[in-house]
């Protein structure tokens, strides 16, 4: 059992406010990923949870107990650092055993626990080696080994995969997800990579400029982004945003006029909309199909096999991106017509808040 609650955490360095009013309730055995662009405060938030940094105000509760003033080791957390932070002068065995040595456990117990961790992480043969003799992925596993020997309540990962190459990163993503299930542990994971967030998280926290933009399951964020920022941050390639003007509202939804004069009625909540407002219509590249609607001058076509990503410009210079079927016959340099189903459109008001979609697909639990 380990729940983690953050209550109105703020942090400022001098006059610079890094985090403002972070409230978060993480459930037991949940894998939560903090994601956001660099400088959004996600690493600072993790360091505050770890106890490496003090928050300016607010409380941290682990299992309902206020640990805001406790030392990291008393909080029951373990942390894996971006650079692995392995001790180069100690063997893999001693690196994994380090927390146990600090706790002055008797040698047989140390041996048993290190052995078990090495077993889980397939490091048994590497135990006598020094970290310098290991590959990047193995070092990463040693760092994880050091965190699991103490049976912490909450695991904290600070961009653990960013030093690995792409292939290894994909492999470690799968391993980490499996490890989380095997250990039945609560994990908080920081990354700037939205793919890591989407693939591993039970729930994602999107941070921007020290605030939580949205907290939800990956599919919730994908289908119902709460803000323009989340919409463009989650999903690959990024969502297209088309400026539009509200023409009117009705029971079927919001009627807008896109640049170029196309009028569409989009099934979204219209409570906040007024005729004449400027809004942005968000369309994911994968929702665009060939057809008659908007016209795009195709500049580059990336064929990935299964899909082909088309990058181009509209007449008014607006950039557009569409994910077309892999066997599409369009050519670079052509003008192509694109269309989308009104139900797939997201609408954001001038403040970047979403008007909730009415016909979104059912959410995966």
């Amino acid at each position: 059992m380990a729940t983690l609650d953050l209550q109105s955490i703020t942090k400022s360095f001098g006059s610079a406010q890094v985090l403002s009013g972070i409230d978060l309730a993480i459930r037991d055995k949940e894998f939560v990923v903090f994601v956001g662009p660099s400088g959004c405060g996600k690493s600072t938030l993790l360091r505050i949870i770890a106890g490496l940094e003090a928050s300016t105000s607010g409380r941290i509760l682990i299992d309902g107990v206020d640990v805001s003033a406790a030392a990291p080791v008393d909080r029951g957390i373990a942390m894996v650092f971006q650079s692995y932070a392995l001790y180069p002068h100690l063997s893999v065995y001693e690196n994994i055993a380090f927390p146990l040595r600090v706790a002055r456990l008797p040698e047989p117990e140390v041996k048993q626990k290190v052995g078990r961790a090495a077993d889980i992480l397939q490091l048994t043969e590497k135990l006598p080696l020094k970290p310098g003799q290991l590959s990047g992925g193995q070092r990463q596993r040693v760092a994880i080994g050091r965190s699991i020997v103490r049976n912490p309540k909450v695991f904290l990962f600070d961009e653990p995969l960013s030093n690995l190459d792409a292939a290894l990163r994909g492999e470690m993503r799968v391993e980490l997800s499996a490890l989380q299930r095997d250990l039945d542990a609560t994990m908080v994971y920081v990354t700037h990579d939205q793919i890591e967030a989407m693939t591993m998280a039970h729930r994602i926290v999107v941070l921007n400029k020290g605030r939580i933009e949205q907290f939800g399951t990956p599919m919730e964020l994908y289908h119902h982004p709460a803000t323009r920022f989340v919409a463009t941050f989650i999903g690959q390639p990024n969502m297209n945003l088309l400026p539009a003007t509200v023409v009117g509202t009705g029971p079927e939804g919001l009627t807008v006029e896109l640049h170029g004069g196309t009028r569409m009625t989009l099934p979204v909540d219209t409570a906040t909309a007024r005729a004449g407002d400027s809004v942005e219509v968000g369309i994911r590249p994968e929702s665009l199909q060939l057809g008659t609607g908007v016209t795009m001058h195709l500049r580059v076509l990336e064929r990935l096999g299964g899909t082909a990503i088309a990058y181009g410009q509209m007449a008014d210079g607006l950039k557009l991106c569409a994910a077309l079927p892999g066997d599409t016959t369009v050519h670079e340099g052509e003008d192509v017509g694109l269309t989308f189903a009104p139900a797939d459109a997201h609408v954001f008001d001038a403040n970047g808040r979403v008007m909730r979609r009415r016909q979104a697909p059912a959410l995966a639990a």
Partner: protein
């Protein structure tokens, strides 16, 4: 960087190195020459690199001329080693504090240490004499060790601090998260990783201690038995004449043990002075 020197450049480099070393080592060459020749030939003959009359006689005679010579050599090494040991015990935690902790007047006190280094020992001899006298430490080993330690701590802190700053902070944070105290981290993580740096600083302190003991010895000590070698060498200056060859032989013999140790430490010195300069 690929080494691409032409033959001419290589020859040039070696010639330049030769002259540089000759300039640096000339006093040593002269010491060795003098120590190998009989007294009577020293002042008469012209300078030659090699001479027929070279012998090790002075190395045998010096022990009779100055019976306490062995003791002096021991004292020198003992004083310098004690100074080094005490200095390191003080410098390691101090340098670590300056490298990692934040406390009031940090920059000011660090600057103060540098300022202390501007004074040479000679300026402070009289006040030091009074202090040591009132502490009753004149004519003891402490009279040479304590001022030595005091003058070398600032250098040590400055040298070691910059080395410790290069140890990644995340290593210490990882230890802290795992429950290790500052001192445990210092002992199990920082000191082992800083070993090359510690050897560099230790060597610098030892050399400093060896060089400055002469001044303290002749000022604060007149007990023959605890005199270090540089002061003891004065005994080769007799009423009638100076046995230069034996004095040189004794000086060379005195520095030999230290030279041998330094020869073995050499690889650490080079590694330590350049470590961390390039990201690995």
């Amino acid at each position: 960087m690929i080494d691409r020197l032409t033959l001419v450049q290589k020859v040039g480099v070696y010639i330049a190195t030769f002259f540089f070393l000759l300039f640096i080592l000339m006093p040593f060459i002269e010491m060795i020459r003098v120590s190998l020749r009989p007294m009577s030939h020293l002042m008469t003959a012209k300078f030659t690199w090699w001479s027929e009359d070279f012998s090790l006689q002075a190395y045998r005679d010096m022990w009779k001329t100055v019976p306490l010579l062995g003791r002096y050599i021991f004292n020198s090494i003992f004083v310098a080693s004690s100074v080094t040991a005490i200095t390191m015990v003080v410098v390691i935690p101090a340098a670590y504090a300056y490298a990692r902790l934040d406390f009031p007047f940090k920059a000011l006190s660090l600057g103060g240490f540098l300022a202390v280094n501007m004074f040479t020992g000679a300026v402070l001899l009289i006040p030091l004499y009074r202090v040591l006298r009132s502490l009753g430490m004149l004519n003891t080993y402490w009279a040479m060790i304590i001022p030595g330690v005091a003058f070398l701590i600032p250098t040590g802190i400055w040298l070691l601090r910059s080395y410790l700053e290069k140890i990644p902070r995340e290593l210490e944070e990882a230890a802290y998260v795992d429950g290790a105290s500052r001192l445990y981290t210092l002992r199990r993580v920082v000191i082992p990783l800083a070993t090359p740096g510690l050897i560099v600083v230790g060597t610098a302190v030892f050399i400093g201690a060896y060089a400055q003991q002469f001044l303290f010895a002749i000022t604060f000590n007149n007990v023959r038995e605890i005199q270090p070698l540089p002061a003891g060498l004065y005994e080769f200056i007799g009423y009638q004449d100076v046995t230069w060859n034996e004095m040189m032989a004794a000086a060379l013999t005195g520095i030999t043990p230290v030279m041998i140790v330094f020869l073995f430490l050499q690889k650490y010195l080079v590694a330590g002075l350049t470590a961390g300069a390039v990201k690995e």
